[in-house]
Structure formats: C-alpha cells, structure tokens
C-alpha cells in the first residue's frame, strides 16, 4: 500500500511539473502561436496527465482532461486558432486540472464539479464545431494527420507488479485510449502449478497488438510510471492500410523472449536505445526527499566543525604527516560541503516564470497591458530560500503592476508606450543574491509618501528625512498612498510583511526611485545559503568574530598615525574615503587597545566600510548556528558558529552593522540640525 502511495506521489509531482510547463507553454503561445513544437508539447502535457490519471483510476481527472486534450489536439492540427479567449479558457482549465489532480478520491472531486462544468461548456464550441464525428470516443481521438499503423507491444511484468498496485489490466485498458487493441496474447509460461501459486504474484506477460497513430514514445510513456516493474518493447509494424491486421505475421512469432530477439534484431536494437535514453534521463534528474537532503547538510555541518578540530589538533601536535593529512581532509571536507550545498541550489528561473501568469492576470484585471521581462533566471540560490521568497515577490510584482505601471491612457499622455513593463532580475553580488523588481511607471512621489506618513503620524512634522528614509516609510505597517483600494493591493497590509519575511531570511529590501526602468525598483538582497559559509575570523578583545568571506574585500594594517585620532571615523585608502567601524567601541568591549590594529575592508552593496579589529585570524568554514530566542532582537550579529577549539564565535551581520552605525551617526547629526534650525521641516 505504501508503494502505491509512493507511486501516487510520483504522479502528483509529475503532474505539478507538467501543469507548470503547460502554463508556460500557453503563455509562450500567446506571442508565438504558430509554432507546432509548442502545440505538440502542450498536447503532450495534458495527454500524459490524462494517461497517468487513467492508470490510477482517477476518472474525474481523465474525464476533464480528455476534453481539454481534444481541443488541444485540434489546435495542433490547425483546425482552430488560439485566440485570447481560448488562451484564457485553457489557462483556467489548467488551474482546474491542478485542483482535480490534488484531490485524491474521485468522490471528493464532486465539490469541484460545478467549476468543471462551466469550463467544459466554454470549451464546447472549440471541440465540437468541426468534428462531432471523431470527438467522442477515445479510440478515434488521435486524429487524422498521422496514419494508423499496427504496433506489437511486448510487456514483461515483474512478479511484484500486483503488490505495487500496478495492475496490468489498467495498463491494457488504457492502451485502448491510444488506439484499437487488436489482439492480446497472454504468455503464461511463468505460471507455476496451482499449488505453488501465490495470488499476489504476477505470473503473466502479455503481447498486445495495437492499431494506433500514436508514436512509440507515447506508448512507452504510458508505462513510464511503472518502468521498474514493466519492461516494454514496442515494435512498429507496417501501416494498417497496407497489411491486413489479421494476416500480419503475428501467429508465426514465437512466444519466448529469445526468439523475439532473434526474429527482430533491428527492433530489439531500437528498443535498446530507447531504454538507454530513458536511463540517461534518469541520471539527469533524481528526486530526493527534501528532509533527507537537510539531514545530509546538517551532518556535513557537524563534519566541518569536527574537521576544524582535527586540523587544530594536528597543528598543535606539530606532527608533519598528521598536519598534511589534516590539510587533505580539510580540502575534501570543503569539497563535500560545496557539493552538498550545491544539491540544494536551484535556479531562480522557475520562481520567476510563475510571475508570467501573475502579471498577465493582474494586468487583465486592471485593464492594463503589461509585459513581464525576466533576466538572470539561471541565478542559483538555496532551495530553502527560494521556497520562502515566493510570497514576498508575488506581493512586489502585484504592487508593481497595480501601483507602478500607469493605466494605458495615462501612459500615452506621458508619451510612453501603452504597454507597460515589469522587470524581474537576479544576479549575484558579494555573497548575496540580488533580486530586483522594477517597473517603468511613474515612480514614487516623495511628497505624497511624506504627506501620508504625517497623516498617519508615522513621522513628526519637523523630521528631516533623506529620500531613502522617506521611501523606507512604505515598509511601515499600515502604509499605503493609493487613494482607492483595489482588491489586489492598496490596503497597506503587505509591505511590512514583505520586509519581515525578507528579514527573517537574513535579507534586506530597499526601494529605489527612479529605478532601473524609470519607475520604482525594489531591491531584495538575500544570503545564498542559510547553512554553511566561508568565513573570515578576527579577534577583538577576547572574542572571535566571523565576517562572511564574500563580503571581505581586503585586509590592511591600521598605521600608527591613523590610529591617533580616536575621533576620526574614516581613512584615506588609496585615495578613496573609507568609513570605519571601531568594533571594540561599537560593541562597548572593555580592555586595552592593542598597539597594532587591523582593518577588514568589507563591501555591502555599493558601500565599503572598514572594520577595525585587534587581530586577523584567517579563513575558516563557518557552520551557522542560529542564536537562540533571547537574542532575537539583537542586530548586527547574524548567528554564531563553533570553532575547532570548541569556542563559540559570533558572526557579524555586516549590512545591519553598517546600517546601525550610519543611523547612530545620523541621529547625532539630526539632533544637531534640529537644534540649529528648528522647524526646518520636510514639507
């Protein structure tokens, strides 16, 4: 029973994938409708879902997809064209199928019935107008263009097939949907004597003659779900038109494996290569349960810590061979760490593609014409991050469509093309991934935000704010500048949630206006992974701190004359101004200043800063251990790690650290300003 459940899970996974493909294909076809490849791919998606669903006896899925499949079939045959209405309808059908697929029991599907009926009624004109003659029965459904021919399908079934719930009868019945099952021969040479027979074991093999227009792949696909239990050989025979099926040389075929091979070496070879193809496909993709992977990565984390301890021990023992082995071990552990983390890295493209649909739906609801441009789709990031970034991104994209891009009339008034653009972009930058959501709309008005903020009493009337401060106001709870609330956005719930979600991933979000396309740009910065990073260790006082290595640009010594002015908060680094953060002072650590101090030059976004530390300790692999609940409000530290000697080191959160120092300085300056020029308010 559990294997059956696994198979069903496979079906679900596969269907979800196919359905998302289907969505993309439909969207792509809107702009490139004529391409037969897209049409065929679309047809295959639905066809496969129908096929797999049939095998599980999910009649509610089969019934519905069957109609959709018919329409798609006519579409690829060129009998109907893909209008916008049809595309809309098919997208809704896709959604319906995805609902149907998730319902495990046909009985529970009844609740979805009304929706399905409406959609089917909508599809009616597309599949019945031209050909009621061939639309109704399954067997005639693979239409026209390809000539029917006869195939011999040789099915060898594993003894466990029945125990795994893969009843051969279901497959044979399902073959009927591809064409006419002309003959079924049961090969019973494996049958034992009655006394030895186990009712749960499958002893039978089959040879089936099928008259069909479907190609070999389509037939093999039916059995794909049970590929480890069913060995399939499909041999094409002559087209039906030329050879009378009854007179086909079937009876002459002997019924054992060996003789089939000798009789048809060519076909065997073909089948062989097709099996090889399938095997190659399996190598390309391998489904793993996510928690197994997480477990592996946890173990790798422990391994990294232990190997650091080993290195330290070897270093201290002074034994050269031991040190060499430890160095070797370290290299390997590093490689293992990288490749196991790599397993969890997925391109962000899949997530981005989902927004094609979001933008399309939102745009049509708002009566706008908006195009979504995606770049950097192959930028990779940790799967755990990808999963959590979907919701905030959806919110930002909807916002860009709703508040960003103007209505067509307003756009043409401003001399812009009526078709608006929303741009999703992703790229790597110093250990982070940057995701940008841009629109080419009117941008944000500083005055309006400020006015609104004062109305909501989020700022005091006499506050002096920079542009960035003002823009950041929109992330405050309950903030919205749009006068009328649409059902998409504008309620002011959301932006604060977006920020919270992103911050919980140790990321940041900022708003830039005018942005990349002239309107606004939201820039999300996220760490690549949440588990293990390369770190750079430094000592301040008694404590060791770790800076994520990707942020480190260089290290340099703080020269004696630079050290003199404790009030000086910047230095001249090769003719560039480098603001300094004195960690000892910032963290209010006690203890004597050392004679020599060092600067770690870090970069976050466009900003460089110098962290002043006592001593540089070099690189290490840092397994991030979150600090517990009581540190949840602590800023400037993103976590902790355990060093080889068992000590706990703290990981610096450079972005918030910079922000903190900037704010402190800002607050000091602002205090001064408001004394000097009271009531110079931002009006």
């Amino acid at each position: 029973m559990t294997t059956m459940a696994t198979a069903l899970q496979t079906f679900l996974d596969e269907s979800r994938e196919l359905l998302s493909d289907m969505e993309l294909l439909l969207l792509a076809m809107e702009s490139r409708s004529g391409e037969p490849e897209l049409q065929n791919a679309l047809f295959r998606c639905v066809h496969t879902i129908k096929g797999s669903a049939g095998m599980f006896g999910l009649d509610h899925v089969v019934d519905f997809t069957h109609v959709v499949e018919n329409v798609l079939d006519r579409l690829r045959a060129g009998e109907i064209a893909l209008s916008r209405d049809l595309a809309n309808l098919l997208l809704r059908c896709r959604d319906h199928i995805s609902l149907l697929v998730e319902v495990p029991e046909p009985s529970e599907a009844a609740a979805l019935q009304p929706g399905g009926v409406v959609l089917l009624a909508g599809l009616e004109p597309f599949h019945s107008c031209a050909g009621s003659s061939h639309a109704q029965t399954d067997s005639t459904e693979p239409v026209a263009a390809e000539a029917s021919r006869k195939c011999r399908i040789d099915i060898r079934i594993h003894a466990d097939a029945l125990r795994h719930g893969m009843d051969p009868l279901g497959f044979i019945r399902f073959l009927g949907t591809l064409g006419d099952v002309a003959a079924v021969r049961t090969l019973e040479e494996k049958l034992p004597v009655l006394g030895d027979m186990d009712p749960e074991t499958c002893y039978l093999d089959f040879e089936i003659d099928l008259v069909t227009s479907a190609d070999r792949i389509a037939i093999e696909n039916i059995f794909e779900l049970a590929s480890d239990l069913y060995q399939i050989e499909v041999q094409d025979q002559c087209p039906v038109t030329e050879v009378d099926p009854v007179a086909a040389p079937l009876p002459a075929q002997p019924d054992t494996d060996e003789s089939v091979e000798s009789a048809a070496p060519g076909a065997e070879e073909q089948a062989d290569t097709s099996q090889q193809n399938r095997r190659r496909k399996q190598v390309q993709h391998f489904r793993i349960q996510a928690d197994k992977l997480d477990n592996l990565i946890n173990l790798v984390g422990e391994l990294v810590i232990s190997s650091a301890a080993v290195s330290l021990g070897a270093e201290q023992s002074g034994d050269t061979p031991a040190r060499e082995s430890a160095a070797n071990l370290n290299l390997l552990v590093e490689a293992i760490r990288d490749s196991s983390l790599d397993l969890r890295m997925v391109p962000i493209g899949e997530t981005f593609q989902r927004f094609q649909r979001v933008v399309r739906d939102v745009a049509s609801e708002l009566g706008k014409d908006i195009e979504l441009v995606v770049t950097g789709a192959d930028t990779e990031l940790d799967k755990t991050v990808v999963e959590k970034i979907g919701d905030p991104l959806t919110h930002l994209v909807r916002n860009a469509c709703d508040h960003g891009v103007e209505a067509p009339a307003a756009r043409s008034q401003k001399g812009k093309p009526t078709r608006g653009r929303v741009h999703l972009n992703a790229y790597h930058e110093s250990g982070s991934i940057i995701i940008e959501v841009s629109d080419d709309g009117g941008g944000l008005s500083r005055e309006r935000i400020l006015a609104k903020a004062m109305e909501r009493e989020l700022v005091r009337p006499d506050a002096v704010l920079t542009d960035q401060d003002v823009f950041n106001l929109i992330f405050e709870p309950g903030f919205s500048t749009v006068e009328q609330v649409t059902n998409l956005s504008g309620r002011g719930v959301g932006m604060d949630v977006v920020r919270r979600n992103i911050e919980s991933l140790r990321g940041t979000v900022e708003l830039v206006s005018p942005g990349v396309l002239g309107g606004t740009t939201f820039r999300i910065r996220l760490p690549l992974t949440l588990a293990i990073i390369d770190g750079f260790m430094a000592r301040v006082g008694d404590a060791t701190y770790v800076v994520p290595l990707e942020m480190v640009v260089e290290c340099t010594e703080l020269s004696a004359e630079q050290q003199l002015g404790a009030e000086q908060h910047y230095i001249n680094l090769r003719q560039e101004v480098l603001p300094l953060i004195r960690l000892r002072a910032h963290f209010k650590l006690s203890g004597e200043l050392r004679k020599r101090q060092n600067i770690i030059v870090v970069r976050h976004g466009g900003q460089k800063a110098g962290l002043i530390v006592d001593e540089l300790l070099g690189e290490n692999q840092t397994v991030i251990k979150p600090l517990g609940g009581i540190f949840s409000n602590l800023r400037g530290l993103s976590g902790s790690t355990i060093l080889g000697n068992g000590q706990v080191a703290l990981i610096l959160d450079v972005p918030t650290l910079i922000q903190q120092v900037a704010r402190q300085e800002d607050a000091a300056n602002r205090g001064f300003q408001s004394h000097a020029r009271p009531r110079l308010s931002a009006s």
Binding site: I305, E457, L589, K625, N633, G636, I642
Partner: protein, 184 residues
C-alpha cells in the same frame, strides 16, 4: 540529535518515581535558591564563555554545549543585585525552560551562573510557603514559593518566568532599535 527524546524519557521516569518534590539547591550571592530537579539538565564547570556584545549585563554570553549554542544568564544581575563574581566553585547550571518565542513551544536550554551548587533535597509540598508579598527583593512572579529546609528558607525559583525567553529578548535593546528611528 536524539537528546530531546531521551530527556523526555528521563522526565517521564522521573515523574513516575516521585521526583517532582526534589530540588537542586544552590547559592547565588549569600542566598540559597532551589529549582525543581525536573528543570535541570546538567551542571557544568564555569568556563569558555563567549560574550555577546550589545546585550544587557545579565546575559553573560554563550557556551558550546556539545555542538549547540546555549545562552548563559547571570541571575544575580537579572535580580538587579549586580554582576556575580566568578569564583572557584562557580558553575553553570543548564536548565530547560519553555521557549515562548513565536509558535514553537519546545523546551529551550538556558544556562545560569551560580556561585556554588549545594545538594539535591526533597521538599514536600507541605513544607512550601507561598511567596511573601515583599521582602525577598526579587520580583514576586519569579518566586514559586519558599521552601523550609532545616529551619531556613530557600527561594524556589519559577524558572519559566525568571528566564522567560520573550521577556529576556525584549530587554536586550540597549543599542538603538532601528524600527523606531523615525519618530525620534
């Protein structure tokens, strides 16, 4: 990884053998305190503490407890009696308290610094007086009761209150809190 499991089992065994009347007594400053033994995970030597900057003084730092990072609280500072000074007999007692942050209600490990660990005593409920309204110089909700031991009172700590994670977290914002930066 299976530590929580074993501990749950320990607790069950402990409960069945009537351990809920057993208390670990220890000294902080000149006063005796006691904590129900079911809250105690282990007692370790004081040492290799990493200070976490920008935290109030009662958070002494974090330690590595077999691979997990555990905060250590100075109860003396928490009770407003100044930082405790570390001596030869100082220990860190690792306790399990309810983690009340967010939606996870699992037990969290927290260490407390004590000046000396005394012994495990049996204090029957009849020997426990309610906390006085004042006089203990400790917030009333931190005290579960006053136990009578050989004519002396020991303060039975309500560790879930005294080490309440959410409250400790809210107390830590000694440095500027960025979110309220605007209206100041």
């Amino acid at each position: 990884m299976n530590q929580p499991q074993t501990s749950a089992e320990d607790v069950r065994i402990a409960e069945s053998s009537g351990d809920q009347n057993q208390y670990l007594t220890f000294q902080i400053g000149h006063e005796m305190f006691a904590v129900g033994i079911l809250h105690i995970r282990e007692i370790i030597e004081y040492g290799s503490l990493t200070t976490v900057p920008m935290m109030p003084e009662f958070v002494r730092g974090v330690i590595n407890l077999r691979g997990s990072v555990v905060p250590v609280i100075d109860l003396s500072a928490r009770f407003g009696r100044g930082e405790s000074t570390v001596n030869r007999r100082s220990c860190i007692v690792i306790l399990e308290v309810e983690g009340s942050t967010g939606d996870e209600d699992q037990l969290q490990e927290v260490g407390i610094i004590v000046d000396a660990v005394s012994e495990v005593l049996e204090i029957p409920p009849t020997e426990i007086e309610p906390a006085p309204g004042f006089g203990a110089r400790i917030r009333a909700d931190f005290i579960a009761g006053m136990g009578k031991v050989q004519g002396q009172f020991v303060i039975l700590l309500n560790v879930d209150q005294a080490l309440n994670t959410r409250e400790l977290a809210e107390l830590d914002s000694t440095v500027d809190a960025p979110r309220d930066g605007y209206d100041s």
